[in-house]
């Protein structure tokens, strides 16, 4: 393996045992692998929202844009449109992109922009000390709902498939090998990809054992069959007790938005164009 160190001097301040460590380790090794396979590291751009998840960009020594809470996705889209050769990977939280900035996720999926969104879905607001999110189970007692939430979670993968996403996967923060596999697949997928990671927050919503008992890896499964994918997505509604599939759930080929801007003639003579407009208006 390579000797490149992707770490930074930033002090890691995640809680010991936090599922974010697995995400960090997995993504770093995927970057190194991709680099060995020919992807220049400078072509990678990381974008993150605000939350415990967001800190990941401080810990990886690559180009990054540490955006606002809920607003990683529009930034990532623009970077990709600006230069389709870049690999843009977005780290976001469930509060961040399923809550505050949900609309951006839906529109990015609709446009099928070729970015990869990794959602650190711990089903809680970690950084603001434990409130419910759109994927917290019914009755979740957080600091803003001390007597339990009164609303059902939504199923983010179902929303994403309805929005036009062309790659959907699910992982947990305790299966490093699988994480690497799906991260790589997601990044290499041409089009909008989203990986929903059931990331354990040891401090505010420790779901470690819960997932440990319920997750199973998809085997003999064809993610390119849309109706099978939809059934698989609906199997677990993020609320009820039942088996939870992990792995690549859905995959589809379709044109992506950023390509529509590539034109042969990228550099017309602007002075000429201005002159032309003015002449037309005489």
């Amino acid at each position: 393996m390579t000797q490149i160190n992707l770490g930074t001097y930033a002090q890691n301040t995640w809680c010991p045992g936090c599922g974010n460590f697995a995400i960090l380790n997995a993504i770093k090794s995927v970057f190194l692998e991709l680099n060995q396979e020919g992807l220049p590291l400078e072509n990678i751009v990381l974008v993150s929202g605000i939350g415990c998840h967001g800190k990941i960009v401080d810990y990886i020594n690559l180009n990054s844009f540490y955006s606002l809470h809920g607003r990683a996705i529009p930034v990532a889209q623009a970077i990709k449109i600006a230069n389709p050769n870049l690999k843009v990977i977005c780290f976001s939280g469930d509060g961040d992109s399923y809550g505050e900035g949900l609309e951006h996720l839906i529109f990015a999926a609709k446009r099928n922009i070729d970015i990869t969104c990794i959602i650190h879905n711990n089903r809680v607001y970690g950084l603001t000390t434990g409130q419910y999110t759109p994927t917290s189970p019914l009755g979740f007692k957080g600091r803003s709902t001390p007597f339990g939430t009164k609303e059902l979670p939504f199923n983010p993968l179902e929303l994403m498939i309805s929005s036009g996403a062309s790659f959907l996967a699910r992982g947990t923060s305790h299966g490093l090998l699988l994480l690497k596999k799906i991260f790589k697949e997601a990044i290499l997928h041409k089009g909008f990809s989203l990986v929903d990671i059931l990331q354990v927050c040891v401090t505010y919503f420790n779901t470690y054992e819960y997932y440990e008992k319920r997750v199973y890896e998809l085997k003999d499964y064809n993610p390119e069959d849309p109706s099978q994918a939809l059934n698989k997505i609906k199997e677990w509604d993020y609320n009820q007790d039942c088996p939870i599939a992990i792995g690549t759930i859905y995959k589809k080929e379709s044109p992506s938005f950023e390509e529509s801007f590539l034109k042969p003639d990228q550099n017309p003579d602007r002075n000429q164009a201005i002159k032309k407009i003015l002449e037309e208006n005489i």
């Binding site: 400078e42 180009n63 990532a76 449109i81 164009a273």
Partner: protein, 554 residues
């Protein structure tokens, strides 16, 4: 007639706008200088709308409510505007819709049966405008060839039918006035939004991102229509929040980017504005003011966002605000805003209003400055790249992804020079100072520009103080009354020294603003200046020449 005004009026959807535009082009060919004021409701069809086309041998930038010709397509057009007609004015009206007894007795009124003609010719209703144009041209003695060529150049659909209708009108009417051509070259007619678009393109615009909102939509439509010719990308995403965040993403990659909106949309951009300040990502905002608060009067004007723009976004950071007063200034201001945004890595504002954005001006590119596109400072590669390197003037060298020698990290949290999050007091202090220091240097640089403009009678002890689109009306009134005019073109960093020079020796300053609370007045107070009188208007309408003159005389 060296100067005259035509008011053309009808229902929204009647094509008043286009008709006015065609007439303006016909007059433009004759060497007249023009200004068009457009008044329309936030309604697609129905409701009342009108345009005032003012023509003069000299450059003009405002409308007058003293009208020489009214072209009235319906009854409302008479009811709402007959008071505006001058003593010797002529009213041309659609006799099928206008009641004769509603017409003023003491004015020349000529009726034409436009609905009937349209029916006879079996064409769509909108073509009655062509007929009306023909009538008007004949009355003021314009050559048929002139009309013919303007029609051919500007009408793409059913040109023959339109010409036929026009000819019918032309033949029906009699010549009453003789408008003489003026021997000067015609100048392009464009609106303020178009001038801004051209300025941005000239300054290296790479992307324009906007969500439609009156009066900023014109810029979006203009740039979208010409995106390929200009070599730019134009994107209209899901909301203003997406707009500003996308723009900052583009900016991060080194592509010059502007956004456009109005007050309500700008509210949604303020969080991104603060991010631009913190992460030092250049961005240009075009904010077109309209009548507020809230949804307000979407298609009317106002100047009530100055203080908001100066103070918007949480936290403290450098910014640049410029408020052009006409098309040439808009072209220049847009270039300057883009240049300074990139030189200082700050948000820059082009603050406009409906009057400027949608007003149509003659545009003389030769009198508007062309600026050299600003290029980023070079990184010497002597040391590892630091996105936020602290320097004397606070400006860090820029690099853009992908760069194999540099890792480029930007951050909305407080950060160290490399861009990693910090919560340390000493670095926070250093970085706050770095970000604010840039404004000091910018302020110094602005001394080499004419940031405060002076016009009129420079010896007068009384000056009119104005900003933005009020420039035009103030200029003309001042000329008439022998007053001085002071227009701070740059509003932030406030050009205090130039302003002081401009006000030296004055006895009286009268501040003209399209708002109720006096927002420019507040700004100059910060610098120890004060005014003696203010004339404000906040009903959505811009000042007209005659109205302002009257108020100033009082």
């Amino acid at each position: 007639m060296d100067e005259f005004s035509l008011l053309i009026a009808g229902k929204a959807g009647d094509g008043i706008d286009t008709a006015g535009f065609l007439i303006a082009h016909i007059l433009n060919k004759l060497g007249f200088r023009l200004y068009i004021y457009r008044d329309y409701p936030s309604i697609i069809r129905g409701g009342h709308t009108f345009s005032i086309i003012r023509a003069s041998k000299d450059r003009i930038y405002t409308h007058s409510n003293k009208i020489d010709f009214i072209l009235a397509l319906n009854q409302d057009s008479i009811d709402f505007h007959k008071e505006k007609i001058k003593n010797k004015g002529i009213i041309i009206f659609n006799s099928d819709l206008v009641k004769e007894d509603s017409l003023p007795d003491d004015k020349k009124c000529l009726g034409f049966s436009l609905e009937k003609i349209v029916k006879e010719e079996n064409v769509t209703l909108i073509m009655r405008n062509s007929c009306a144009i023909g009538i008007f041209c004949k009355i003021i003695g314009i050559e048929w060839e002139n009309l013919d060529s303007v029609f051919r150049k500007n009408i793409s659909k059913e040109i023959d039918l339109n010409l036929k209708l026009a000819r019918r009108g032309y033949d029906l009417a009699e010549n009453l006035v003789k408008i003489k051509a003026i021997s000067q070259e015609p100048l392009p007619l464009i609106n303020g939004s178009e001038a801004i678009g051209l300025g941005l393109v000239k300054a290296g615009l790479g992307n324009y991102i906007a969500y439609p909102m009156t009066p900023s939509s014109g810029l979006l439509h203009f740039l979208a229509a010409n995106a390929d010719d200009f070599g730019i990308k134009v994107i209209h995403p899901e909301s203003e929040i997406a707009v500003v965040l996308m723009a900052l993403g583009f900016s991060y990659t080194g592509q010059k980017t502007a956004v456009g909106t109005s007050g309500g949309g700008f509210c949604l951009m303020t969080e991104g504005l603060s991010l631009s300040g913190m992460a030092e990502l250049p961005i240009v905002f075009m904010v077109g003011q309209r009548t507020g608060p809230s949804t307000g009067l979407p298609t009317y004007t106002g100047q009530s966002e100055l203080q908001f723009i100066l103070n918007a976004g949480h936290g403290e950071f450098s910014r640049f605000v410029i408020a052009p007063g006409d098309a040439e200034e808009a072209y220049f201001a847009s270039q300057l805003a883009m240049n300074l945004a990139w030189k200082y890595q700050i948000p820059a504002f082009i603050l406009t209003d409906k009057t400027l954005n949608e007003g149509i001006y003659n545009f003389d590119i030769n009198i508007s400055k062309n600026l050299i596109e600003e290029m980023p400072i070079i990184w010497d590669k002597a040391n590892p790249y630091k996105r936020y390197l602290d320097t004397k003037n606070g400006i860090s060298p820029l690099r853009f992804v992908p760069d194999k020698d540099a890792i480029i990290k930007v951050n909305s949290y407080e950060h160290d020079e490399f861009g990693i999050t910090t919560e340390e007091a000493s670095i926070t202090k250093l970085m706050q100072e770095k970000r604010l220091r840039k404004e000091k240097y910018l302020e110094k640089e602005l001394e080499s520009y004419q940031a405060v403009k002076i016009y009129g009678n420079k010896k007068s002890k009384t000056a009119i103080l104005c900003w933005g689109s009020n420039k035009g009306v103030c200029l003309e009134v001042a000329d008439k009354l022998g007053l001085k005019v002071i227009q701070p073109l740059v509003l932030w960093p406030f050009p205090g020294r130039q302003f002081k020079n401009a006000t030296k020796g004055l006895k009286k300053i009268i501040c003209i603003e399209n708002n109720a609370t006096g927002q420019l007045e507040k700004l100059i107070k910060l610098y120890g200046f004060s005014i003696h009188k203010k004339i404000t208007r906040y009903d959505g309408r811009p000042f007209s020449l005659d109205e302002l003159e009257e108020k100033l005389k009082k």
